[in-house]
C-alpha cells in the first residue's frame, strides 16, 4: 500500500499533495502557526438532537470558574465546550463539538462540588453559577495519566511506524502527561486489520474505541458504516464490509480526520507534512491546540 513511502512524500502526485495539505494542515504551507483541523460536518440525526437539547436550555449566561479562572458559558452547554470557548484546556479523546457526547474515554473528568464528573456529559445549569471547577490539579491529572497509560497497554500503539504520528491525540497526551513507561502490563492483543475497502483501512491495533466513527460516519441513507461489536475487553469497532466497499472517498477522508488516533486511514494517500512538523510537533496538545 506504500504507506511508508507516501508518508515521507516520495511517491505522491502533485495534486494529491495539494489536497492532502489542505485537509491535514490548512495553514501549514503559508505560515507555521497552530494547525486547526478542518471542521467536520456532522450528520443530520446527531445535530438535530443536539439542537433540541440546546433550544430547551438556551437563554441565560452562566458564570463559573475553572481553576480560579473566570469563565462564561451558556445554560445547557457542556462544561467541556464551555471551557474550550474560554480558552481552558480539558483533555478529551472522544468528544466533538455538536455531536452527542459518548462519555467513554473518561479523560475529561473534572471535579465540582467534591464530585468527579465527565466534562463532556455534564451541562452547565443555573446551579453552576459561581461554581468552582477543578481541572488542572495533580489529583485529576494523575487519573488522566493513568487512562492514557491504560490505552497504551490495551492496544498496540507503535508510534514510530504510525501514519498519524505527530497528529495523534493519544500520542500527544502521552507527552503532555509525561508518560515514560506505563505502570501497567502490556496486553499485546491480537487484533484484526480491515483492508478490504478501496478507500479506507481500519487498523484495530490502534483503536481506542472513542466511538467517533460510530456516531458520525453514516452512508447516504443514514446507515451505520461503523458499529461496536462484543463487549468488555473484547469490544471492537466493526465495519460493515458491504457499505465500506462502496464508501465514497469523501466519507473515507472524513472518517480518517475524525479518528483521534491512526486507526482509520484513507488509502492511497500520503501525508505531505513530514514527522517533526506536524500538528502536535509544533505545539503540544493543550497549548494552542485546545481540541
Amino acid at each position: 500500500m506504500g504507506f511508508f513511502s507516501s508518508l515521507f512524500g516520495k511517491k505522491q502526485k502533485p495534486e494529491e499533495v495539494k489536497q492532502e495539505a489542505k485537509h491535514e494542515a490548512p495553514k501549514q504551507e503559508v505560515k507555521r502557526e497552530p494547525i486547526v483541523e478542518k471542521k467536520v460536518e456532522t450528520p443530520v440525526v446527531e445535530t438535530k438532537k443536539v439542537e433540541e437539547i440546546k433550544k430547551e436550555n438556551m437563554s441565560d449566561t452562566i458564570k463559573f470558574k475553572i481553576d480560579g479562572k473566570e469563565c462564561v458559558g451558556k445554560n445547557g452547554q457542556s462544561i467541556l465546550d464551555a471551557a474550550i470557548e474560554n480558552g481552558v484546556y480539558i483533555p478529551s479523546l472522544c468528544h466533538m463539538k455538536d455531536v452527542i457526547p459518548a462519555g467513554s474515554c473518561r479523560i475529561c473528568q473534572i471535579k465540582m462540588n467534591g464530585r468527579t464528573m465527565a466534562a463532556c456529559t455534564t451541562p452547565l445549569t443555573c446551579d453552576c453559577n459561581n461554581l468552582e471547577i477543578e481541572n488542572d490539579t495533580p489529583e485529576i491529572n494523575e487519573v488522566r495519566k493513568a487512562i492514557v497509560e491504560v490505552l497504551f497497554v490495551e492496544g498496540n500503539h507503535f508510534c514510530p511506524s504510525c501514519e498519524k504520528s505527530g497528529c495523534c491525540e493519544l500520542q500527544a497526551l502521552g507527552y503532555k502527561y509525561a508518560m515514560l513507561v506505563p505502570r501497567f502490563q502490556y496486553a499485546f492483543p491480537q487484533r484484526e486489520i480491515f483492508a478490504a475497502s478501496p478507500n479506507l483501512m481500519l487498523d484495530r491495533n490502534r483503536c481506542i474505541l472513542c466511538k467517533k466513527c460510530v456516531r458520525i460516519i453514516k452512508d447516504e441513507k443514514g446507515r451505520s458504516v461503523f458499529a461496536l461489536k462484543n463487549r468488555g475487553h473484547k469490544l471492537e469497532i466493526n465495519i460493515d464490509v458491504d457499505l465500506a466497499k462502496t464508501l465514497s472517498p469523501a466519507i473515507a477522508q472524513k472518517a480518517m480526520e475524525i479518528c483521534p488516533v491512526g486507526a482509520i486511514i484513507k488509502k492511497e494517500k500520503g501525508f505531505a507534512v513530514p514527522i517533526g512538523s506536524r500538528k502536535f510537533d509544533l505545539k503540544p496538545i493543550g497549548i494552542g491546540n485546545l481540541n
Binding site: S104, R106, V143, I147, E154, R231, G232, H233, N238, D240
Partner: protein
C-alpha cells in the same frame, strides 16, 4: 429458514426498537443468530448489518453458531463452585464428550459457563435449553446426558417439581422457593386489587405523599427514595410516559425477585399500575432477565387474569380514563442491563450500555419519554403501602430504613434461601438465623458490595450501615478467599463490563491479572498497594455503578483481609515470575526429554 425469519420479522412489525425480540425469537427458533439471519434482519429493518451485529454480540445468550441441540449453561458463580460445580462439569465433559466452552463433535451437546442464574440456594445449577436444573450431581448428569442421547425433550427430563407455583401447569420447574421467613410486607396476606380500588379514589398528590411518608427507598441496592423519583417523573410535561420494572436481578448471589415473581407477581404488577396511575403512564414494561424465561408463560397468564378482573387494560377498577397495560421484555444475558439506563437501551433493541446523565430516566427514559424504573421488590411494597398506609410502613425497620427487606442468603450455611427481615438486623443475627458457623467472611450485596470480616459482624443491615440489594454470600473458613471468591468475582466483572468506559474495560482486566500474580505468590507488597490506587481510578472515572464498583472485590478484601494479601506477598522490590521448568516445558515436550535443571 428464510420463511420463518420473515415471519418473525413481520411479527414484530419490522420495528428496529424491537430488535431484542426479533433476535430472541430467531435464537429460540434456529438455535443461533447466524450471519444469514443478520443480513436478512438488516435489510428488512433498513439498517446496516453492523447495527444488528452490535446487539447480537453484546448479549451472552445470542450465539453466532449453533450452541448444540442441547445447550447446557453451567452456573459459574462462587456458590456454584463451592457446592461442587467442578465435579458436575467433569461429568458433563465425560458423558457428552466435549470440553467446557464448546459443542460436541456431533453437534448434540453444547457446554458453556454462564454468570449467576439466580439459583444460589440450590447449586450446582444449570440452564438446559432454557429450563433450570438444580442441585446437580455427577449421577444426575449421567441421566441427563443419557436423555440427550435418547433424543428426549428437556421438559420430560424434569420429573420432580419445586414447591408453590413452581409446580403449577405453566411453570413446571424443579426450582424451589426456599422461602424461609415471611415478613410483614412482601409475603403477608393480600387480596389482589385492594390497592388499585383504593388508589382510584386518590389523586396523584395524595399517592406521592403516601409513598413519601412510607420512607421507601429503592430495593435494587442504590436506595433512591421512590416517592421522590415518582414526583420528578410526574412533574415532567411530556404527555407520554412509561413505567418499568427492573427484574434483571443479575448480581451474583441474588434470587429474591425470582421468588416474588413466582409467588406474588400480581403484587408487582399492581404496584406498576399504581405507578402508571400516579405519573400518568399508559404502558408498563417488565424487563425480565433471560435466566427467568421459564416464568414468562406463567407471568403472561397472571397479566391476562388481571385484565379479566379489570385491574389492567381500559378504565381500570371502574375509573374512566385510567388505562394501563404491561408487556414483558426478555433480556438476553447481560448483568449491566440491571443498571436502569442500560435496561432502557436494551428495551429499545440496542446494546445494554448505560447512558450518560443528565438527562435522567425520569426526564428522558424509554423512547426518550419520562420513565419510572423500580425494582421488583419496591413495586410489590408500593401495593402494600397503598393498602395499609405509609405510616404503617414507616413503623417497620429502622429510622432511616423503612419496611422489610428480602435477603437472598446462600453459601456456607445450613438453611440457604429467601428471608424477609426488618431492616436493622445485624450480620451475626442473620448468621445465627441461617445456621452458619465457622464463618470467614460475608459478601454483603454481591460482588459489587463489601466483603466483611468477623469483627464487623455486629454491623446492621440497613441503608445507614450495610446497604444491600439483598445478596448475602456466606464464606466459611474452609475457603480460599482470594482464589475461590475474589478471583471469581473479578472474572465476572471482566466478562460483564460493557466496555464503553476505558477504566472499566481495561483496568478490570489489569486488576484481575495483578490479583492472579498475588495468588501465585509473585507479587510484592507494593504491588498490592498499587491495586488500591487503581481501584480508586475505577471509582472516580467510570460512568455507571457497575464500573465504579467493579474493583470492590479486591478493594474491600484488601481493606478487611489485608493479612491474606500479606501472607502471599514479599516486602521486596521485585519477585521473579521466571521458572526454568515452565519455560522449557514446551521445547522439552517437542524433543521428548526431561529437562536437566541441574546446570
Amino acid at each position: 429458514m428464510k420463511a420463518t425469519l420473515q415471519t418473525i420479522i413481520e411479527k414484530h412489525q419490522k420495528d428496529a426498537t424491537r430488535l431484542m425480540d426479533i433476535l430472541l425469537d430467531i435464537q429460540a427458533e434456529h438455535g443461533s443468530v447466524n450471519d444469514e439471519a443478520i443480513a436478512l434482519v438488516a435489510s428488512q429493518l433498513g439498517i446496516s448489518k453492523v447495527d444488528v451485529e452490535q446487539t447480537r454480540s453484546f448479549y451472552h445468550f445470542f450465539t453466532k453458531e449453533s450452541a448444540g441441540k442441547y445447550t447446557v449453561y453451567m452456573n459459574d458463580s462462587v456458590v456454584a463452585n463451592m457446592k461442587g460445580k467442578a465435579e458436575v462439569v467433569k461429568a458433563f465433559e465425560k458423558e457428552a464428550n466435549c470440553k467446557l466452552g464448546s459443542v460436541s463433535a456431533d453437534g448434540l451437546i453444547g457446554l458453556f459457563n454462564t454468570a449467576c442464574i439466580g439459583m444460589s440456594d440450590q447449586e450446582p445449577a444449570a440452564l438446559i435449553n432454557g429450563k433450570v436444573f438444580t442441585n446437580l450431581t455427577p449421577a444426575k448428569v449421567k441421566e441427563i446426558v443419557a436423555g440427550f442421547k435418547a433424543d428426549k425433550c428437556v421438559k420430560e427430563m424434569i420429573t420432580e417439581y419445586g414447591d408453590g407455583q413452581n409446580s403449577s401447569e405453566l411453570i413446571k420447574s424443579m426450582v424451589k422457593n426456599n422461602l424461609m421467613k415471611k415478613g410483614a410486607v412482601t409475603f403477608s396476606e393480600y387480596k389482589t386489587g385492594t390497592a388499585l380500588r383504593k388508589v382510584v379514589e386518590m389523586n396523584a398528590d395524595q399517592i406521592v405523599a403516601e409513598v413519601k411518608t412510607s420512607g421507601i427507598r429503592g430495593r435494587g441496592g442504590a436506595g433512591f427514595p421512590t416517592g421522590l423519583k415518582w414526583d420528578f417523573c410526574r412533574k415532567e410535561a411530556e404527555p407520554v410516559k412509561y413505567v418499568m420494572c427492573n427484574a434483571d436481578e443479575g448480581e451474583p448471589g441474588t434470587f429474591k425477585d425470582r421468588v416474588i415473581l413466582t409467588e406474588v407477581p400480581a403484587l408487582v404488577f399492581e404496584g406498576m399500575t399504581v405507578a402508571g396511575y400516579t405519573i400518568g403512564a399508559k404502558q408498563g414494561i417488565l424487563y425480565l432477565r433471560h435466566e427467568y424465561k421459564y416464568l414468562v408463560k406463567y407471568l403472561d397468564k397472571v397479566l391476562e387474569d388481571l385484565r379479566t378482573q379489570n385491574l389492567l387494560g381500559k378504565n381500570i377498577a371502574g375509573k374512566q380514563g385510567f388505562d394501563f397495560d404491561i408487556r414483558i421484555q426478555l433480556g438476553a444475558g447481560a448483568y449491566v442491563c440491571g443498571e436502569e439506563s442500560a435496561l432502557i437501551e436494551s428495551c429499545e433493541g440496542k446494546r445494554g450500555e448505560p447512558r450518560n446523565r443528565p438527562p435522567f430516566p425520569v426526564q428522558k427514559g424509554y423512547m426518550n419519554k419520562p420513565t419510572v424504573i423500580n425494582n421488583v421488590e419496591t413495586l410489590a411494597h408500593i401495593t402494600k403501602i397503598i393498602e395499609k398506609g405509609g405510616a404503617w410502613y414507616k413503623g417497620i425497620g429502622t429510622k432511616e430504613s423503612a419496611g422489610t427487606k428480602l435477603l437472598s442468603i446462600s453459601g456456607d450455611c445450613e438453611k440457604p434461601g429467601v428471608y424477609e427481615i426488618e431492616w436493622g438486623m445485624t450480620i451475626q443475627q442473620m448468621l445465627d438465623m441461617v445456621g452458619a458457623k465457622d464463618v470467614q467472611a460475608v459478601q454483603v450485596a454481591g460482588p459489587s458490595g463489601t466483603c466483611i470480616n468477623p469483627k464487623q459482624f455486629g454491623r446492621a443491615i440497613a441503608y445507614e450501615d450495610l446497604a444491600t440489594g439483598g445478596a448475602m454470600t456466606i464464606i466459611g473458613n474452609q475457603r480460599n478467599l482470594l482464589k475461590d471468591v475474589v478471583h471469581n468475582y473479578m472474572d465476572f466483572f471482566v466478562d460483564e463490563s460493557c466496555g464503553s468506559c476505558v477504566p472499566c474495560r481495561a483496568l478490570s482486566v489489569l486488576m484481575k491479572e495483578r490479583l492472579e500474580k498475588v495468588i501465585n505468590g509473585h507479587a510484592t507488597k507494593n504491588e498490592v498497594n498499587e491495586l488500591v490506587e487503581w481501584g480508586s481510578f475505577m471509582k472516580l472515572a467510570n460512568r455507571c455503578g457497575l464500573g465504579q464498583t467493579a474493583s470492590n472485590p479486591i478493594i474491600t478484601t484488601i481493606q478487611n483481609f489485608r493479612e491474606k494479601y500479606d501472607a502471599l506477598t514479599k516486602d521486596t522490590d521485585y519477585v521473579s515470575e521466571f521458572n526454568m521448568e515452565t519455560a522449557v516445558a514446551a521445547s522439552c515436550a517437542v524433543v521428548g526429554r526431561k529437562p536437566n535443571l541441574e546446570h
